[in-house]
Each structure stands twice: as C-alpha cells, then as structure tokens.
Symmetry: C2
DNA sequence: CTCATTTCAGTGTTACTGACATAC
DNA sequence: CGTATGTCAGTATCACTGAAATGA
C-alpha cells in the first residue's frame, strides 16, 4: 500500500515504469551505439517495407525532422539505404539493407531480454492483463 | 489485437502511456509555469517536511544538481524558502511556504484531472489492477 | 497557388556526469 | 583523511517548432 500521494497516482507509476524500461533499453542499446529512434525505424522498415521518410515518420510517430537525423545515422552504418524516388523527386525511399535486417534481429533479442527482465515479477496472466489495460 | 511486433511489447505500451501522461501533465502545468520537478519537490516538502536539498533529491529521485535549479525556480516565486542550516553549514534547509502549500493544492487538482482523463476508459476495478501490476 | 517532402537550426524537459569548493 | 553538500557546466535522448528550399 503506497502511503504517499504521489505513489498512488497511476501517472506516477506509469512514468517510473517507463523510465525504468527506458533506462534498461538505453543501456542495452548503448553497447551497439543504437538509440530508440534507430530501432523504431528499423522495425517499421522491416514490417512495412521501404518508404519515404515522411511515411516512416507517420508509422513510427517520430517527427519528420528527427527521422532525417536517424536515417543520417543508419545509412553510414549500412543498415539502411536512402535513394531518391524517381516517381516523386521530393521523396527519398528508405530501404532496409541485409545488414540492417541482421542488426534488427540482434536488437529484437535485446528488447526481448529487457522485456523479460522488466516483467519478471509478473505471471503470464498478469502480463496479458497489463497489456490489455494499457 | 496489435499486429506488429512493437505494439505487442509492454515496454512500448508503457512508454506510450507515459508519454501521453507526460504530455497531458506538461500541458496542464504549462499554464502556471510549473514543471514536473517543481511539483515533485512541493509534494516531498509537504509530506516529509523541511529538509536539505540532498535529502529532497533522495526523496524524489531527482539529482542533486537538478534540485538546485528547481529550488532556484521555486524560491523567487515564494513557494519555498531556502535557509542555511545553523547545525551544518554545508546544508540549506528548504521549507514549504504557505503560498507553496496553496499552489500545491491547486496542482494536486490539476494532477487529479489528468488522472481522470487518462483513466477514463478504465473501470474502478481495472484501475486498481493496473496500479497493483505496476 | 496550395500542399507535401526533406532538411536545418533551435528549444525544452528529464536525467545524468564530472568537477569544484566548502564543511563535516 | 574520507565523506557529504551545494553548485556549476556540460551531455544525451526524446519530442517538438519554425523556417527554408524543392517539387507535385
């Protein structure tokens, strides 16, 4: 039974849980120099296929201007390709490369590990309930 | 039923919920120029009484260096007092003022409003379950 | 002309790090 | 001496804003 005002607020609890998760993830990603934006973009590319930067932004909820910087980081690493769209010369088509897909699989395992660590105190049923409520 | 990999992750869901809550709170606080750190410090002062900045930092989870800046903001507004501790000249004793307590009550109502807005889709029982799981 | 896209530059909050001087 | 405190300066991520240039 949390006694203080703050500790009773779901908002507070959600924030602390999120901060905890963020910290675990950031630490896990730090080893490979990956940031959250990179992972989210790789996932979007893997699941929705190549697309323009604006499309990626809409899919991931990342602002267009931040997509630019994230793609700027992924391309030199060879994890994604940036090519002009011949059909619409405003657009760049971003494509997941083979090394990018490979890196994504590694990161997926990292995320799964953090997931398990985070949810360790919860049973299967409780996890399902949590997901449903959120 | 979320179909994509990311949307199934509790970590992701918690983050989105947290971001949503943060945004609502920041917007609600913005009108009075309050930030999250300010609210947390006021709550700590109200519930634990006066204390040194280092103690406040430990109570709230805010870094010492960030406590400095937050107190720097609260004092000129008259919401808190900063006085040297005669018993330990390294320390400043931070005290909640009457206007500070009053402001805190206003902010509490703001937080409660955000709380309700955030949890509107959940029943009483579901809210309790969520709090318990977190 | 209007709208979409990419890009750059900048802001703000939260969180953390390192260093320093002071005092216990 | 080591440790605690307050302070300052700086970094990082995520998120957002505004503006400019280009092209549909």
């Amino acid at each position: 039974m949390p006694s203080t005002r703050v500790e009773r607020h779901p908002t507070w609890l959600v924030n602390r849980a999120s901060a905890h998760a963020q910290r675990l993830l950031a630490d896990a990603f730090a080893a490979s120099g990956t940031r959250g934006y990179h992972y989210r973009l790789l996932v979007a590319l893997d699941e929705h296929g190549p697309g323009s930067q604006a499309q990626l932004g809409r899919l991931t909820g990342i602002d267009r201007s931040d997509v630019v910087a994230a793609v700027d980081a992924l391309v030199p690493e060879g994890l994604a390709k940036r090519e002009p769209d011949p059909a619409d010369r405003r657009r760049n088509i971003i494509t997941l490369t083979r090394p990018g897909a490979k890196r994504l699989r590694v990161l997926d395992r990292v995320v799964a590990g953090v997931q398990d660590e985070l949810l360790a105190p919860l049973s299967e049923r409780e996890r399902a309930t949590l997901v449903r409520l959120l």
